[in-house]
Amino acid sequence: MAHIHLEDGSFSIFWVIVWWAAAVILVGISLYLLRSGEKTDSRKITIAAFCTAAAFAIFQIEIPVAGGVHLTITPLVGILTGPAAGCLVVFVVNIMAAAVGHGGWSMIGANTLVNISEVLVAFCLFSVLGKITKSPFARAAAATFGALVCGTIVMVGIIIISGVQGVTQSSATILAGLSLVVAINLAVAALEAIITGFVVTFLQKVRPDILGGKQGNSGR
């Protein structure tokens, strides 16, 4: 659940601009890639839009562990939509989350970067692992766990680099303070890996067309 649980006003304006700019550049590149490719078909947009909605909805279900944590399904998004559309999806999810007070407007840039790293890692691991194992469960679970570990690292990195406004302690102290957060994140990552494994196994069974397998014949 790598997601920076900080609200508006936590980062200084400098870092807000830096992270936003980085995110917008990545989103811009994705847009360029998507538009330069073959004509985007509406089915692809449906899948991306659905992933956005589901990611946001699942975001909202608290699992009653350790004071309430939640899943993000960004690795699954990466697996299902690929890196380019995936970047757009997480960007939109973060905007929606900010709108209901779940993250903060100025944090969208940083959070999008965290999630983009997850999307990319999940997508790459999933593709690479496809050459090693046939089991969709193992592929998806490993890709998810790897992605979430990476996301956690990026998240901690961003917080350490930008610091929290008003916090004057050293990076090392902040890191120590964050260690609990990291531990919880890793536990949730394991849970999410299992769930993603099931989702992908299921999809493989009933809707292989979504996973890029042979096209189903249910119409469009």
Partner: protein
């Protein structure tokens, strides 16, 4: 409380939409662009300032606006619980080692950790900032009609980002309804979600997977149903969005000026 709601502390999007569609206060007639401008300025101000006083003043002002718009205060506080929790859980951890005059201190394993006056101040300031941003966002959401949001999204974001955004907004209601009805069904046959995890951990993951796929297929069906009524894969937001009036520009201008004054004139408030 209705079990169809996913959680009481999550803003209920159905409800928000219904307020937005019905609100006929003065604020619902203000141009959405003006409100968007306000949002940017509010966020700018709380990012730039570190002053507890300024944050408190801003919060009270926004709360007053929220109240005047006839929006539900009790719901607002319930919805704010989560952001507050976030701030406390992360900043609350950091606050302990902040240099300053200690208020409480503990010795754990030979290391002394202390909660200082600066630490407490930090928590309060960040908390207020969070409340300001959440309250203003909800105010914005609940006084602006869906078609205006759709129009703004359409104008701000390039394609296909706008399409993903707009369609996702539609599917969101489906997915939330689906999640809610699943929880309802589970509960009405005796499976509290927590107990089910312990009792049948595997089933939980499977159910979760299935809900995902089901909502996906629902979304797909709705999409085909939309196509069956002429959707072309591009939403043409035809609705004209009211432009900001003189008053709107005036308010935004004045607000910017205040920010400039506050940030540059008053010492020790700058967060660079």
């Amino acid at each position: 409380m209705s079990a169809t709601m996913v959680s009481q502390h999550i803003p209920d999007l159905d409800l928000i939409t219904s307020y937005a569609e019905r609100n006929d206060s003065f604020f619902s007639k203000v141009s959405p662009w003006t409100k968007l401008g306000g949002l940017v300025l509010v966020i700018l101000l709380i990012t730039l300032t570190r002053s507890l006083a300024i944050c408190s003043g801003l919060y009270i002002a926004i709360l007053a606006v929220y109240y005047l718009a006839g929006l539900p205060i009790k719901k607002l506080f319930a919805w704010c619980a989560l952001p507050v929790l976030f701030v406390l859980s992360l900043v609350g951890l950091l606050a302990w080692s902040e240099p300053g005059t200690p208020i409480v201190s503990f010795a754990v394993a030979g290391v002394t950790i202390a909660l200082t006056d600066n630490g407490v101040l930090l928590v309060f300031t960040l908390l207020l900032k969070a409340l300001v941003s959440v309250t203003y966002s909800l105010f914005f959401l609940m006084t602006t009609k869906y078609e205006h949001f759709a129009g703004m999204i359409f104008r701000i974001f390039p394609s296909p980002l706008d399409q993903i955004f707009l369609m996702a907004y539609r599917f969101l209601f489906l997915t939330l309804a689906m999640t809610g009805s699943m929880l309802k069904a589970v509960r009405s046959r005796g499976g509290g979600l927590v107990r089910s995890i312990r009792m049948q951990g595997r089933i939980f993951a499977e159910v979760f997977a299935l809900v995902f796929i089901r909502s996906f297929e629902r979304a797909e069906r709705v999409h085909t149903a939309m196509i069956a009524r002429g959707y072309h894969g591009s939403y043409a937001a035809g609705t004209a969005i009211p432009r900001p009036g003189f008053v709107g520009y005036g308010v935004l201008g004045a607000f910017s000026l205040i920010i400039a004054i506050v940030v540059w004139m008053v010492p020790n408030t700058r967060g660079w």
